[in-house]
Symmetry: C2
Subunit: 336 residues, 2 copies
């Protein structure tokens, strides 16, 4: 089997040389484990932070060891038998073709309850839950709010904007990194306005798209997007700080937001969050978003790359913003 | 009578030339008004913002017109008679010796219920309420928290630190602008640690004073204090954004906080607030803080300047950090 290992820690933008495609033995599952043949794995922006040797909310990847992250696969061996061979499971050991995983660390899913298996890593998985929790619980979205989301054509942002629309937003505005993505937002996902942040300063484009200001900002990007949003937030505005992809490969600290003192007079609330602490909302989330997905009111584009050996390139493409919707790597087909 | 008018709008640091000490007629109170002879007036950092012609949560001062702000005085005429002559009232028309004020815009207070009349502008007034609401409601202080407050020898900061101590903080740390003020915090107000922010980088001094990090930061200062606090906040840390006095006279925007992206992984909550929207907490505040003040467990230093003509200099001294505790101007003695 193959697995992807961290070859070296990058400074600034990573390249293929920071990854190693290694051949190794298929692991033998222990008595409390199942052996999973992975079918899809997720690449996510937060993985860039794990390539650095810095203390954070999850431990860094280790040089010479395989990377890990969200994956879905099929159980091919189950010594204890509690989870049957053939079951489809979500777990945290991607970046490898086979994984031996503790049985209590996997989540068995119904492969027929989702439009595609990969949805369990995206719109019906941690990605969708991130959007749901961030918008509703962290940013305290209320019907009638005007919402701005950055990285809006990405996996999380595209769900945020659609939940806002379906929950009664007054106006939903998204920013993305190409004219095609901006069109995708308004023409296919029902955003009221969208712009390509490369066209002109974010502040100017946001003001034009939301002349009366915004109530909620869902931040996937950081940098000048966050500063622009603080400037355009109305009294009692709320910000969900979810990601800062614009800064992840920077070697110098950003200069802003230089206008954070506006939070005093406008009584803004800015709140960072990590989805893994909000698993108690999974039931509500699956019921609501799963329903919209089934009846076609919410859609989730995927960008799928084939083959584990291409996973590093998929991850680098994600950092460059080449995906629309969730970026995934397909590792195999279901046998069952 | 005399009143202080805005002579010109400052760019950067204001000087005495931006103020005009004007002679004018004592106003005639209307039928729904009382005429108040002012005894004390408050100077506050937020007034610097009102000298600029920028939209904010309160309208800017107008060039050629008198300034306004918190004051306490004695009623000397009361055409409708609802509020008796001789009553002591708190109101919003400072910066003048006499004020005609709508009767429903004044708050009658008991002059014998406070240690000094001026306390109604400070520890028992908006200043104390700012500390109480910011620490308890905005920063969601809980017993056992380690608390850092900047501008800790100032009117608000000195109350914040004492409330935290009396409510069961694990550790209370303050920063101030001189070694005398830092000593005042630890020796007289019961702070566990204090430092002079001019001695060394705030980040280094804060880390030394709170080696295990902080849970709550009460920000009166902005700038490098806020950035240092974000760096030292622990998981689920909370920030009350109350003021940014370090920046009020800057003509260029600040460069930070450059590390706000740490709010994501640490799941920080930063919240700005304006005390005037929290008057519903006045009853709880007076009961709790008034009790501590009476039994001597909480103390409130004042820096008092005499005479209306010296009010501009008092305000400039406040911006330079020359006060310890609440900065007030005494305009007269109570006749009653």
């Amino acid at each position: 089997m193959k697995e992807i290992r961290l070859a070296a820690r990058p400074t600034g933008w990573p390249t293929l040389e920071h990854f190693d495609v290694a051949e190794c033995e298929v692991p033998e599952p222990g008595n409390d484990q199942v052996l999973v043949r992975n079918l899809f794995m997720s690449v996510d922006p937060y993985m860039r932070g794990r390539m650095n040797d810095t203390k954070s909310y999850i431990p860094p990847f280790q040089v010479g060891a395989p990377l890990d992250g969200g994956a879905i696969g099929e159980v091919v061996a189950s010594p204890a038998g509690g989870i049957p061979v053939g079951a489809v499971v979500v777990h945290g050991y991607g970046w490898r073709e086979y994984a031996a995983v503790d049985a209590r660390q996997v989540t068995v899913v119904d492969p027929d309850a989702a439009p595609t298996l990969s949805a369990y890593l995206g719109v019906l998985g941690m990605t969708g839950l991130t959007a749901y929790v961030g918008l509703l619980d962290i940013a305290q979205f209320r019907a009638g709010d005007t919402v701005f989301v950055s990285g809006a054509a990405g996996a999380v942002g595209s769900i945020v904007g659609q939940i806002a629309r379906l929950r009664g937003a007054k106006r939903v505005i998204g920013s993305a990194g190409s004219p095609e993505k901006a069109r995708h937002l308004t023409e296919e996902l029902g955003f009221d306005a969208a712009f390509n942040y490369r066209d002109a300063p974010v502040r100017d484009q946001l003001r034009a798209a939301a002349p009366d200001g915004i109530d909620v900002y869902f931040d996937n990007v950081g940098g000048d997007h966050l500063e622009a949003a603080i400037g355009e937030l109305r009294k009692y505005g709320r910000v969900a700080l979810c990601g800062a992809i614009a800064q992840y490969n920077d070697t110098a600290p950003p200069t802003g937001p230089r206008n954070l003192a506006q939070a005093i007079g406008k009584e803004l609330n800015l709140r960072g969050f990590i989805v893994s602490n909000h698993n108690d909302r999974m039931g509500d989330f699956v019921a609501e978003v799963g329903g919209w997905l089934r009846d076609g009111r919410l859609s989730a584009r995927e960008t799928v790359v084939d083959g584990l050996a291409n996973a590093p390139e998929a991850f680098l493409g994600l950092l460059r913003g080449e995906n629309t919707g969730k970026m995934l790597v397909r590792l195999g087909e279901r046998a069952g």
